[in-house]
Structure formats: structure tokens, C-alpha cells
Symmetry: C2
Subunit: 357 residues, 2 copies
């Protein structure tokens, strides 16, 4: 993340329920976040009795408004069920505060599918967007430390127009979230040669190439799974099925290696001493690849800014998601994105063929 | 890998050309392999002048037969071009030695798409297989040290019947390659709940569940990207597009972490000393996750056994691919697989509906 600026007060609407670690982790995350962000305010939605004790006698209490909600969306609730029966849930209330412009951004650790469904019906899709997407940050070798990948799970399919919209949205996110003036965008495929991959990807590749100039990004063409953390690219575009598998595969690989590393350090008395000697450097390494530090999938293409924190996030993870949400809200990212998408969409679909030349 | 048995002499047909590191790396890999496998023989296909010097005055020379080939398949050749014009290439000759039963297994580091195309037209598909697949070994937490994933890039799509065949083939590979009597098979998806993912995956899931008993495996249902290296499963089934992205994403993540780890150890004088102190444990860790040690994508579902070594494999990688090929050839894996697939295929497609109940 680029340095945070706290000059503008903003309000975050936070769903405190539904994460794997319960409302306590969210409340502690809110406290940690507010301690580092002196001008932010939080509307906290959930069971009052679980939340209030955390802010009793705290100087932070004046920046937190607790809104009681009776119901909770669980991780196993189907999105369709929540859409019909979820009006009394903390998730619904958190999204509605954004809809009613009482907050500038909404954050939840709850059920991803349900959060997307509620966000779609309450906030509507942005003009020119058919399928909203979830974008994540991926540790990379680039100077900014992270690359952006989308969609990582909003929808299980995407056609050429959707992938074009993802390219525009991802580039805008990289500009506002990572401070890159002209992001490099790549389309995920099984090879970098033009003849590789599915036919629909070739069509999407041509659409994205044609939109690069107007979208203010560079299109680098097809990229492979190994390029996701590379310096070839800043934004990786793919459908939500492939992106979700890639994200979880990367996280799983990182976890496996961390575990093996810990075992290696514990394997002898000598290596235990070595572990102590490298503690600082290893802590920096862990921070660099820790999913909690880059926590927050951003929902793009909606009529409002929603950040999904990892379901298993602890207080550190929740605080990271809140910081990301605050930064994006302060950058007016949502409005800039909407105007750009609407512009390209008009160009692509509505312009008379003769004028294109 | 389980312990190798060298009791039966076998012959490997090896394409020495087309890898990123050239014929020298392959020749050195062959030497390394033959030194550890005292009964194996190798037919080596490629440019005689590049290969012969490696075996001059070597006691191994009597187990190596060099077959000169004028042409080479390059990494950028299109498979369709090689199918029409590739008869004089070392790759074609290597596959034909298997077809003519002069060898029991074929190994190449060359262009994957071309190798699959040549293998398909020269060896034909096995009975009951519509789409052959490439299976890889993935470092895992299981006692056997590796899980099997397929397809990792033979084809970019797969329907329900293909995924069923992959489950059968993957289970057979796990039995013969990893020594698991009853492998656990999972189908890769974006969530483990039944309602998640594409409709075609639900259909495939039912097909695989119904075939588990006859296929002698346990079906664990849907698995996610994070489960690939886990103890939940031994065999991960997916289409070749998703599998290829997952494989390369995992490799890329492992490379990134290795690089960051090296930087961490070089960051101070103290950490450099620590690196020396943990050298043994770190070397074991590296071996565990080094793609070269588990080198070899196995082509399943063809009328003969073909192993694809990584294009960038050095001598260590080539030797690992040759060892894997020799082990599978000695296990009569190819024949066992063919009879099992043909059996399930007959059950699934030809049995009268009434009998199924």
C-alpha cells in the first residue's frame, strides 16, 4: 500500500458478524484501525451485547456508532436465501448504510456470495458493467509490492465484454489503490503465444488491446500463472472461477512452504538458534507474504464501494481490510471508476461502426 | 516417490532435443539416471554430433543407443505444423520407438502441445478415453509427499465424461506411482459446498461418485485450490485450463518465496551466519518443493506411456523424469490403466438403464 493520508474524515459501514472468528475479532480490528486513522468513523452493525463492551470507557467510542441487528448471515447460507430473507441481518444493514449515503464504504468478513448478492440488489450495478468482480492484491516483485488480480470469485464465468470491464476496473484500482499512473494489464491464459487458449480469450484479448489507449493502461497480452507475482504485469484479468482457484492455490502453496520452513527451523538445536538470529528478516518476509496484511477483496462494478475481508481474518486482518477501504474511499475511486467504465462501454457498444475506423 | 526397484530391465526412448537447455542437459541427465538404474537402457534421439561425445569411452555407452534425427521441434512450433511436417524430428522418432515396441516409455523435454499431438496420432487414444490428460505430482503434506493433479494442460476443456476418465486415470497413477492402494479423489471447484461452481461440475461430481466403488478409490467431493497440497485428498481432478493455471501459479508462488527467503538470509551479517547454520535443513526444504525433483508430467489415456519433462529441466530434472518414467514402465501401469478405463467406460455408456437401478 502507498502511504495513507488521513486528511479527510470518512465513514466506514462495518458488518461485525458472520466472520469465522466472530464479532470480537472484528471489534478488535476496528479498534486497531481507529488507533491508526484519527479521522475515520465507523458504523458497526451486529449484536449490541457482543459489541458494546469493547468500546466501554474507550476514547474511541465517540467515533463508533453501534447499530443493533438481530440476524446474522452464516457462511453456509445460500445467497438466494439471504436475498429473500436477509433484511434483518447485520450484512444487509451494513450495505444499506452505504446505499443511504450514511457511509462511503462498506466492509464485511461474512459469506462472500451473500455479500455480493445483497450488494447487487441494494447498490445496483454500475453503468456499463454486466458482471461485477472481486479484485485482490497479490504479493509481487514489483516496486509497489503487490499486483492486482480480478475476478477472484464474484462470478464463475465471464465473456469478452466482462473481461474488458475487468481490465478497466483493475487498471483503475491499480491507479487509485497502488498509485500506478499507467498500469500494465495482462489476460491470464495457459500460454503467452497468441494461438494458445480458449477462443473466447482471443476475442477478449483484442477487445482489451483496443481499449488500452482510452483506458489509460498498457496491455501486455496473455500472461501465465507464473507471471501473477512478476514484474511483467500489474493487473491480471481472468474469470472468477480461474481467479478463485489461482488465489487459493497461491495461498495454499504459501502456507505449505511456511509450515515446512517452521519445521526446518525447529529440526535441530543449531537451527533453533539460527531462527532467533534471523527473526527480524523472517518477520519481514512473513509480513510480505502474509495474506492478512493484504486482506481485502474489493467488489468492483457496483454503485458503491464494498470490501470483503477474509472470512478467517483476525484483528490484524480486519484492520488491514479497514485501512484499504478507507484509502480507496478517500481516493474517490468509486466515482472515477464509474465514469471511466461508462465511457468505454459507450465507445465499445454504441459508437457507429463507420466512426471507429 | 516410493523406492525404485531395478529388477526388471526396461528401455526408455528419449527425445534429446527441443528442451530450453539443449541436448547437453539431456545427455547429462541420461548419464545421471543410468548411474542410479543399473538395468535400464536408453534409445537417445537427436543430433548424433551433439550426443556422441557424452558417451565416448563411458562404461554406460553399451546401454545407450543413439538414433540420429535431422530435425528438431522448437518450443514455438504449432502442434498442427508438427503433425504435418514433423516426421524427421527427434520427437517423432522417440514416440515411434514406443509405437514399434522397441521401448516401454517415451520421455521428452520438448514442446508440450506438439508432444501430445504426435503421441495422439502415433499411439492413438486408449479405449474409452476421449481426451488424454497430463498428470503432475504436487508437493503435499500427505505421507507419500506428493499429490497427483490432472489435467494440467493436455486440453483446454473437459466435460463430465472426461473428468470421470481423469478421476479413474489419476487414481490409477496414484496407485502405481505413489503406492496408494485406495487413493482419495477430489474435484477442483471454487467451494466445497454442493451448490457452488459450474453446473457441469455438479454433473461430473455425480458421475465420479458413482464410479468410485468400481474404480477402487474414495471420492471426497469438491476441493478448493488451497486443498491441492493438503491431506484431504491424493488426486485432484480438473480441466486442463484450470489445472495449468493452478500448476504455474503454485510454481510461481514457490519461486517468489524462495527468492524472498534468499534475500532475507542475505540481509545482514548475522543472517548470513544463520544461513550457514541451517544449510542442511534448508537444503531438505528446497528439495521438497523443488519442481525439478518432481519433474515429469505423465500423459495418461494414450496407447503408450509418455512422460513430459519440464522444458527448462537441467540434468537433475531430466534424471528425475527418467526415474519416474522407469518406475511407471516397470509397474505395467499403462496396461492396468487401460483395462480399468475400458471397464468403467463400458459400465457408464453401454449398460442398459434398467440394470443401473
Amino acid at each position: 500500500m502507498t502511504g495513507l493520508s488521513h486528511d479527510r474524515s470518512i465513514t466506514l459501514s462495518v458488518d461485525a458478524m458472520g466472520g469465522d472468528q466472530g464479532p470480537d475479532a472484528v471489534a478488535r480490528g476496528v479498534i486497531r484501525f481507529l488507533e491508526t486513522d484519527p479521522t475515520a468513523r465507523v458504523l458497526l452493525h451486529g449484536r449490541r451485547e457482543a459489541l458494546e463492551p469493547h468500546f466501554k470507557n474507550s476514547p474511541l467510542a465517540e467515533r463508533v456508532e453501534i447499530h443493533h441487528a438481530d440476524d446474522v448471515v452464516t457462511m453456509t447460507d445460500k445467497p438466494s436465501h439471504v436475498m429473500r430473507n436477509g433484511k434483518a441481518t447485520s450484512m444487509w444493514a451494513a450495505v444499506d448504510a452505504l446505499r443511504d449515503q450514511r457511509a462511503e464504504v462498506c466492509v464485511s468478513c461474512g459469506n462472500t456470495g451473500a455479500l455480493m448478492a445483497v450488494s447487487m440488489i441494494r447498490l445496483r450495478k454500475a453503468e456499463g458493467v454486466n458482471r461485477p468482480a472481486i479484485a485482490c492484491l497479490w504479493p509481487s516483485r514489483n516496486p509497489q509490492g503487490f499486483n492486482v488480480m480480478l475476478d477472484v470469485g464474484a462470478d464463475i464465468r465471464a465473456d469478452g465484454d466482462d473481461l474488458l470491464a475487468y481490465a478497466m476496473m483493475g487498471a483503475s484500482y491499480a491507479r487509485n489503490g497502488l498509485g500506478l499512473s499507467r498500469p500494465r494489464v495482462g489476460l491470464l491464459n495457459v500460454g503467452t503465444e497468441e494461438h494458445k487458449g480458449r477462443a473466447e480469450l482471443k476475442a477478449a484479448s483484442e477487445l482489451i488491446a483496443a481499449a488500452a489507449e482510452r483506458g489509460d493502461f498498457d496491455y501486455v497480452g496473455f500472461v501465465e500463472g507464473g507471471d501473477i507475482p512478476s514484474t511483467r504485469v500489474d493487473v491480471i484479468v481472468t474469470d472468477g472461477f480461474t481467479g478463485n482457484v489461482a488465489l487459493k492455490t497461491g495461498e495454499g502453496t504459501a502456507r505449505l512452504i511456511s509450515d515446512l520452513l517452521r519445521e526446518a527451523f525447529m529440526s535441530s538445536a543449531l537451527s533453533k538458534v539460527a531462527a532467533l538470529m534471523t527473526r527480524g528478516a523472517m518477520a519481514r518476509l512473513r509480513t510480505r507474504i502474509d495474506p492478512r496484511q493484504v486482506n481485502g477483496g474489493v467488489f468492483l462494478g457496483l454503485g458503491g464501494l464494498v470490501v470483503k475481508s477474509h472470512g478467517s481474518a483476525d484483528a490484524t486482518g480486519v484492520a488491514a481490510a479497514l485501512s484499504l477501504a478507507a484509502q480507496l474511499a478517500r481516493s474517490d475511486f468509486s466515482k472515477r471508476l464509474a465514469s471511466r467504465i461508462a465511457g468505454v462501454s459507450a465507445l465499445h457498444h454504441d459508437a457507429p461502426k463507420e466512426i471507429k475506423a
